[in-house]
Symmetry: D2
Subunit: 352 residues, 4 copies
């Protein structure tokens, strides 16, 4: 059994990985750590865990939290995982970090990211950056292997955009400076901490765009798409919130520079993802919405061409807490330990 | 492997049992039957099933629907299952019916039920009524056994009320004519067929009571509670709809006729359900809502006494599509085949 | 023009009265006061006010907030209005207070209320209690007149229960110890301040009961119903939250002690409210929900008898922020200044 | 008093104009007509109208529906208003039609529109097309005057896009073939008739794009923007539905071809709309969402430039049933009768 520790267990990213680990045949949860709610059983904080996980929430420094484990999930904000990382790796455990801390491989790349979002540009564990891998298995499957120790789990919006655009950029279908990512997220993407914008009465009948000045996921989207394209890609990115709990729907656009039909593009996408169990490619006749990926690790792509304007249009659907967070984290853990990528993740979802 | 057939596969009760059977280690879905959407793959009707269940929806008379199976779930309205029943049993299969058809054991009891709700009082298969069992395992576990052939799966409101009140009636805590069931359901309880009352704009910011003249679940509630009490019990029942999708919260009241404290009543309830894995009993300090049972087969009971007015008050929470429908159906199937009651049902749920 | 000041302008009760005053032909808003968000224009805090009310939010002690006004609305928590009251009245203004501060007429009655909900039992302005009037116009219309200075605006749940039960108690239809108030509120009833229970992801698909140990509105419900009955009335009260924004639906039950039919009770209710423009009485054939009173000052009552169990059942629907708060406050202001009760309040609402 | 008749009174567009007319100082509702629900009082169909509008719903051919009126609102689907139009005009009444029937001025333009959306390309009243005016007052104010008889009320998505892009096209800020309209609508935009896609359980936690093959509002968007630009404009348009009831948020993009800063563009927009009371222009620092225009006739525009990619980005917010439908209809009626454009429409909205 793989023994797992979850740091940041109190938040949605934490409870999400706990739910998944409880259903994984090869993992046992060793301990749960959080800076808040310490001492409380996880099942008091999250009553649906009653009888499934009644472990106490431990403070980071609690001796009981120092048990030997094989993998640590840091479901923590930026600049936290990077502080824990050296100690975690020294103990022999592998690390899957949810934040931007290990999504970049050089101090300079990290500094650019951190600067854009107003954080200290200095990374606390710069020595570890070169060995970190960007945890989007569909693009980096072979690099996320048993010899790897550190994974930077991708951002939720980034997952939806990168999966939705990579085949087009790789095949040079679109002008790399024409790309627009119009991204709608459910409210759970903002986490568990109450705030005025996500108070029920302020939100139930509201939609709005936010962070127009720049969103933290743009760096990784542009980096990954540029890697696929072999040239610089810049995207216009608009983050929006709508009153669903789980779900991201990203409408992705690019000016076509090749004379392709929709059916050809659909075929290219299917070929690109033929080994990726969690990506499903549909043409525009499919009646797909975010509810069809809710609670699952799937990314459903509707691939289309607007002939009148020669635009590529891809609608990318994920569950932001699954493929956009805990699901990808478990997928990465599976790869780190040489397990089939889909172990514990091939769930059908629930409808309605 | 138990081979299962689902009749009424197109509705919420049908897709619910399909989801559960896909995760059950000992069942294989043999075929799906519905009067509508025939010919369509289940995964076109319900895209989240893509790759999990791509079987076609067959018309009832389709030759391919006549394969030999071990169990049939009839997720159909009143007066449908009773027509299929003789043929199903003759084929050697067991039957779990979702409607009121097999919740009563005599033609007279059925006639009273049918009359109350405006149906033909004549049962189509009266010979089968004596061998049917009311499928609420918590009260009839020993009767739902391998020698049984027909189960009448209980109504969703009924499950919440009967589980919430049985210990009190059995222990003669309350006046049997004082019982009030104030029951709130999510919208999925009304099924999949669109109608004006459940059109999103009419519903999203609305709550209302309905069927004040009489609800079809009252008969079975009074029958089961009377059985527990050993005397006639009559309930005042108010069905309400609120804008959640899944969930029933029933507030249950009775005039106390014994001098008991809340803690004693909690203890009585825990004792009553000590062998029932899916019933959790809490005192009033617990912060429990319907979201904590969503997607699961649990019934969470908050047991309380209002000392100022000497009223018993129980808040009963279930997922109407799980413990209130498909979950109970699978629990019954497990018992019919001698499997552990919880097989394929011990799921943690998802939050948020 | 009546000049009005709103203290607590930043909350839902504050913005609610601002919206109403903007549409009132005889009132001008003189200033807005709040302990938070001071300095900000009201239309920055509430962008829908842009161009309608761009007044700044003033701190309570701001000199600009000391202008002479005719009426003050204190949309503030318990124990705040009572501190401002002497100064307000001394300035010649009348006071409509939203809290429990002026709902009781003796220090002892206030102390009982305050004690029940964990507040200091000592009232800060006990001399003013005898002259305060309970601001439910339908029962105290003649007392809320131009010679009155202080109104204690009623609690939202209380409005729904008292309007729904007063005719029955006055006519001695029900056992005064049998009354049950099963009350469902929308989330706006909890106010504007974000908290974990009303964070969108925690709330959108959840319903729950709360404060089972005792709710602050019970005192005024029992006091008012006892006044109607001419004898002590005790109620069992269950507060619940469901995911709507605006709306209270209270299901009210009592054991009938008179041999009356539903139609007679409906007639009694219509007679009781014949001079009350904001109360509409329906029989159980009406398809009424909370959405039909949203944004209005109406209380819609569905009046019914359960013949099988001899229970009175009344379903009471209000908008908790209107008839349950700002609407009643304006209705009271109208009466205090000798205006027609309905001035500025006879609005049709919006659907859907 | 202007006497008004509403055809299609049973739908959301019909009840919307009824609500507005009830609050208009210069209009009296003469009669309500619908093909369904005939004979029923409007207040039975829409209980919130009780006491405000209890007129019966009349069949189109009912003699009582033939009374003389000054204005007719046809809140009807495509190809209905064009049939009624000659008779309405012959009676001396003016016509405001909600459909595409009178949004185009030539049979050929109509035929192109009708063909695109699968309707008969032949217009039933082609003689009237030249005198029809497109009812977007902000662009055609002077043409919607007392000598005009027929107004084609604009489509809801079209209003949001045209208002959001007209200043940019007029000032040649963007490449006219680069424009992308990513449009999210609330569910009420689909009307009152229940269907599977808008059944509450299918919708509450879902978002999806639809009509990727082409939406009926694209024709009028391109026509109006081309008029502003003085050259052909083509847009890529993506219609989406999210689970709000009222509201459209359109994110509008174009490749900048002029060297302008965000502040200059904001200034251009403010100048463009300086005489338009219902358009408010904000820069990207504003925290604006659709809830801030709910129930009102306002269009809130957030105007922005993405400097990194040189894209214009405008976020346009309207209430689809107000500025997107009944609100614009009343605004047009005001202009047709020489009243101030804002009469009966300058409403503050409601929050939350």
């Amino acid at each position: 059994m793989i023994r797992a520790k979850v740091i940041g267990a109190g938040g949605y990213g934490g409870v999400g990985i706990v739910e998944l680990l409880l259903g994984h045949p090869g993992v046992e949860i060793a301990c749960l750590v959080s800076a808040t709610d310490t001492g409380m059983p996880a099942s008091k904080l999250y009553p649906h865990l009653t009888g499934f996980c009644d472990l106490p929430i431990l403070a980071p420094g609690d001796p009981a939290a120092q048990v030997k484990v094989d993998v640590v999930f840091t479901s923590t904000p930026d600049a936290v995982g990077m502080k824990y990382a050296p100690e975690i790796l020294a103990s022999g455990a592998k690390l899957v970090d949810y934040s931007g801390d290990f999504r970049f491989n050089t101090p300079a790349a990290y500094a650019e990211y951190a600067t854009r979002i107003g954080l200290d540009p200095k990374h606390a564990s710069p020595d570890l950056l070169p060995e970190a891998v960007y945890g989007l298995a569909e693009l980096h499957r072979s690099e996320i292997n048993t010899s790897r120790r550190v994974v930077g789990n991708p951002g939720c919006f980034a997952v939806s955009c990168i999966l939705g655009l990579s085949p087009a950029l790789k095949h040079h279908l679109v002008d790399p400076f024409s790309v627009i990512c119009d991204c709608k997220s459910g409210v759970s993407g903002a986490g568990k901490k109450p705030n005025a914008a996500f108070h029920y009465p302020a939100r139930y009948e509201n939609m709005n765009a936010y962070k127009l000045a720049g969103h933290q996921h743009v760096c990784e989207i542009e980096r990954e798409l540029s890697l696929q394209a072999g040239q610089e890609v810049r995207v216009t990115f608009t983050a929006q919130v709508v009153p669903v709990c789980r779900g991201i729907m990203s409408c992705l656009y690019g000016q076509l520079i090749k004379d392709v039909k929709a059916a050809e593009v659909v075929a290219l996408y299917r070929e690109f993802y033929k080994d990726s169990a969690f990506v499903r490619v549909f043409d525009r006749s499919a009646a797909i919405g975010t509810i069809h990926v809710r609670g699952t690790n799937f990314c459903n792509l509707v691939v289309d061409v607007d002939e009148r304007t020669r635009k590529l249009r891809v609608i990318s659907h994920i569950d932001n807490l699954m493929k956009g967070q805990a699901g990808s984290a478990l997928q990465n853990m599976n790869l780190l330990f040489g397990l089939p990528e889909t172990t514990g993740l091939m769930r059908v979802g629930m409808y309605p």
